[in-house]
């Protein structure tokens, strides 16, 4: 630009002016549909702190540990399980799962991958001396054996229908036994070595994280030479970086910015979140111990308005406690109803005397938490409920969660870790679980039985009956199942994964080239 003469500048301005009058005459748009790039740049909302996959469950980190490392089983963006480091797995008897491993896989340092690594990785998750953050993921496992270098046998304490699904999510990343034992946990965390499609190169805190493509990856070298991850916490700055073309993909795109991104050279791609946004209820605190009151609260929420206004249509109304896309989701159930008249009636029948009902919300911890709380409180006031919003800081919320001291209702965004009701509502609402504020003998009996049954037909029946009980008692008031949106350059072909994995392997990511 600085080399241009004044005349050239004027000419350029004239061309630009003329081009602006013809909407299709912007050559950069057509060209930007393809690229020659060999470097993929991704901007996310926060930095990474740990690379040891057994020390993190946070989405900013598991996005990358799922690519540095492989799991035995891989969950693809279509929600189904595919072979990973294991090529096949089967139930050999109700408490035994046998996994056949992929031959010829090498660690990034050249060491061969064997069943000893798998046995070591699983045992490491629950080893009290290592004290990982994922030591509750495989509590169903009794022991892991490696009878030969390419076979692993899991014995479970009780029948576990979901072991393969558990192995596909966090905690299930396989780490190199020889390397970890040789260099120790701190060094492994600083210089991780995996089997995945990208290799660790360098990390500058809060600046950038650089990875190189693994040319020997068993699933094929990814469609780039280098991957750079940049933390850009501010939403506006993250979007500006995308619009200006400095980055190729951004995560955590709020719904109200979709329109800006869906124009010119960039577009929005979303996946329906594998989970729900619910108002969890302290069903021990009157008047919320009365199912009629909770039914009235649920009937009093106009979820369509919330989806349309606060999510700009980027979400759906749930029909139960089971997220769409999960096993045993019942598509025949109608979406949760809005009926203010019926709500008032049930409130009257319940004997509600105007006691205060409190929503304890964070501001910005989950998308739209505070705006949704305010909208819902207004809707509840309309049906005659004395409702109020209290805003908590995130760490206060975390403490209340631990101590189980929420007063009324609070936001929860349970992720379906296993694509199954067991890793979703039952993980949180089971006796002793983090949201154990309500008990029902039949519900509990069914939840336990379904957890330990390998008979999917029986499990389906059990979840059907549990849904009926749930919809009467409402230990959660489900509100919305949103899309999780990303902004991309149009020359990027990429399918987001519903469960916070960020899949850059060949089958999910490609640059469009000329």
């Amino acid at each position: 630009m600085s080399d241009l003469t004044r005349r050239e500048l004027l000419k350029a301005a004239g061309v630009a002016g003329a081009a602006a009058m013809l909407p299709s005459a912007r050559p950069d748009v057509a060209e930007a549909q393809t690229t020659q790039k060999r470097e993929l740049v991704v901007a996310q909302g926060g930095d990474i702190a740990k690379f040891d996959p057994h020390f993190s469950t946070s989405s900013n980190e598991i996005r990358w540990t799922f690519n540095l490392f492989d799991n035995l089983v891989s969950r693809h963006p279509d929600g189904k399980l595919y072979p990973g480091l294991a090529t096949e797995w089967k139930l050999t008897n109700p408490t035994t799962w046998t996994f056949k491993l992929r031959p010829g896989v090498k660690w990034h340092n050249g060491d061969p991958f064997t069943s000893a690594d798998v046995k070591y990785s699983f045992e490491r998750t629950w080893d009290p001396k290592v004290a990982t953050r994922v030591n509750t993921v495989f509590t169903t496992v009794e022991k892991v054996e490696a009878p030969d270098p390419m076979t692993v046998v899991f014995t479970t304490k009780k029948p576990d229908p979901l072991l393969a699904a558990r192995a596909a999510f966090y905690g299930g990343q396989i780490v190199p036994k020889k390397y970890v034992e040789a260099v120790g946990g701190d060094q492994f965390n600083a210089k991780p070595i995996g089997t995945g499609p990208v290799r660790f190169v360098s990390w500058t805190k809060d600046d950038k994280f650089v990875l190189d493509a693994n040319p020997d990856y068993f699933g094929g070298k990814p469609d780039f030479d280098r991957l750079v991850v940049r933390p850009i916490p501010e939403t506006a700055a993250r979007i500006a970086a995308l619009l200006k073309g400095e980055v190729d993909i951004i995560t955590q795109l709020p719904p109200d910015h979709g329109e800006r991104v869906n124009s010119g050279n960039t577009r929005v791609a979303g996946a329906l979140y594998a989970g729900l946004y619910v108002l969890a209820v302290n069903s021990k605190a009157p008047p919320l111990d009365n199912p009629l009151v909770k039914q009235a609260l649920s009937l009093g929420i106009d979820r369509d308005v919330i989806v349309k206004e606060l999510w700009r249509g980027r979400g759906i109304v749930p029909n139960s406690q089971i997220a769409k896309g999960d096993n045993h989701y019942d598509a025949s159930l109608p979406p949760l109803k809005y009926d203010p008249k019926e709500a008032r009636e049930r409130l009257k029948k319940s004997g509600y005397k105007g006691e205060e009902i409190l929503i304890e919300t964070t501001s910005g911890y989950t998308a739209n938490d505070k705006p949704m709380s305010e909208a819902i409180v207004a809707m509840w006031r309309d049906i005659g409920v004395n409702a109020r919003v209290d805003v908590l800081e995130y760490s206060v919320r975390a403490q209340k969660n631990r101590d189980k001291t929420f007063k009324g209702l609070w936001w929860s965004d349970p992720t379906s870790t296993l694509s199954d009701p067991d890793g979703m509502f039952w993980r949180l609402l089971a006796p002793g679980g983090p949201q154990d504020y309500w008990r029902h003998a039949r519900f509990d009996e069914l939840g336990e039985a379904a957890r330990f049954s390998v008979d999917e037909k029986f499990r389906g029946q059990a979840y059907k009956e549990m849904t009926k009980i749930f919809l009467e008692h409402l230990p959660w008031i489900p509100v919305v199942q949103p899309y999780e949106d990303y902004g991309l350059q149009k020359y990027v072909e990429w399918t987001p994964n519903p469960n916070q994995q960020f899949e850059i392997r060949r089958f999910a990511f490609k640059f469009r080239r000329v």
Binding site: A131, N189, D206, P233, A237, A398, N401, P434
Partner: protein, 308 residues
């Protein structure tokens, strides 16, 4: 010379008390405001996990014991291990320091280089168009929130004009917008103060005398007026250097700049006590050093306040 040593010794004693008080306040406030353990664990962790991690971090011990351990270690220059990064806290903080130093010093230099000439110019050409225009801009610069200035600069200079990168750290081009944003407030207040300090001095008798002696206007302004107006300018400049650190929290977040301001705010959210304590300790130290330097500069500028 002895006077200077005594002066420094007294200041140093005061500085130590200040650092101790600041660390104690931060220690107490951080502990009162939240527990790091629930933030480290997945939401469905059982109670036994909480107890185990609390023990690992030492947060299960009574506060006075924790405080004793903290003070003892801090005296030896050990701020403990970062809860979030699993590394020594001091190493984490020092890793972030160069980026902040680069940004802070550039912003500060930018502020000085732009603000002082502008202040002088508008004082000399009082009520001219230049004076009114620059002072109006300075007023906006002083009252607009850093966050707003930052986003505005990104949208206009980077996204619309395409001249500069939107965020991140890299070459000098990456430095321009964050340094302007961070320096905006300091720039505005230094310019305004330079103008008013100079105006006051320009009315003084010795300036009239200097002019009567037939000295050139430039000599009058620079040598006679500016030197006498310097004390308040140095004071405000030093104070502004301190507020640059505070502004760094917002600026570094907006521009994804990997500095200690951003580290501090994230560590507060994560309740990463050791890192927060280390950052605050360093900031307190920096403030004290700045104040001390300013007092020494006073002595150079004005012989009347030299320690005797």
């Amino acid at each position: 010379m002895r006077a200077v040593v005594a002066f420094l010794a007294a200041r140093l004693a005061r500085a130590l008390v200040a650092v101790w008080l600041v660390s104690t306040v931060v220690f107490v406030v951080m502990r009162l405001s939240g527990d790091p353990v629930p933030l480290l664990l997945p939401p469905d962790a059982p109670r036994s996990e909480y107890a185990r991690v609390a023990k690992e971090l030492g947060t299960d011990r009574p506060l006075p014991v924790q405080y004793g351990v903290f003070l003892g270690n801090a005296l030896r220059g050990d701020f403990g291990r970062s809860i979030h990064f699993r590394q020594p806290a001091a190493a984490v903080v020092f890793g972030y320091l160069p980026a902040t130093a680069e940004l802070g010093l550039t912003a500060f230099a930018l502020a000085l280089v732009i603000a002082i000439p502008i202040g002088i110019l508008s004082a000399v050409q009082r009520n001219s168009l230049i004076d009114q225009l620059t002072m109006a801009v300075a007023l906006v610069g002083q009252s607009a929130p850093t966050f707003f200035v930052g986003i505005l600069l990104i949208l206009v200079l980077s996204l619309k004009a395409g001249w500069l990168p939107t965020s991140g750290r890299g070459g000098w081009a990456h430095l321009v917008l964050p340094a302007l944003t961070l320096g905006a407030f300091a720039m505005a207040s230094i310019a305004r103060l330079t103008r008013s300090a100079l105006l006051e001095v320009l009315r003084a008798d010795y300036v009239r005398t200097a002019r009567a002696k037939g000295l050139r206007e430039r000599v009058v302004v620079i040598k006679h007026a500016l030197r006498n107006a310097a004390i308040p300018i140095v004071t405000i400049t030093a104070l502004q250097f301190g507020t640059l650190l505070g502004g760094a929290v917002v600026t570094e977040t907006v521009f994804a700049w990997p500095g200690i301001g951003r580290l501090a705010i994230q560590s507060i959210y994560n309740r990463d006590y050791p890192v927060v304590q280390c950052v605050v300790f360093l900031s307190a130290l920096l403030f004290i050093v700045i104040n001390l330097t300013v007092e020494l500069i006073y002595g150079v500028l004005d012989p009347r306040i030299r320690p005797r």
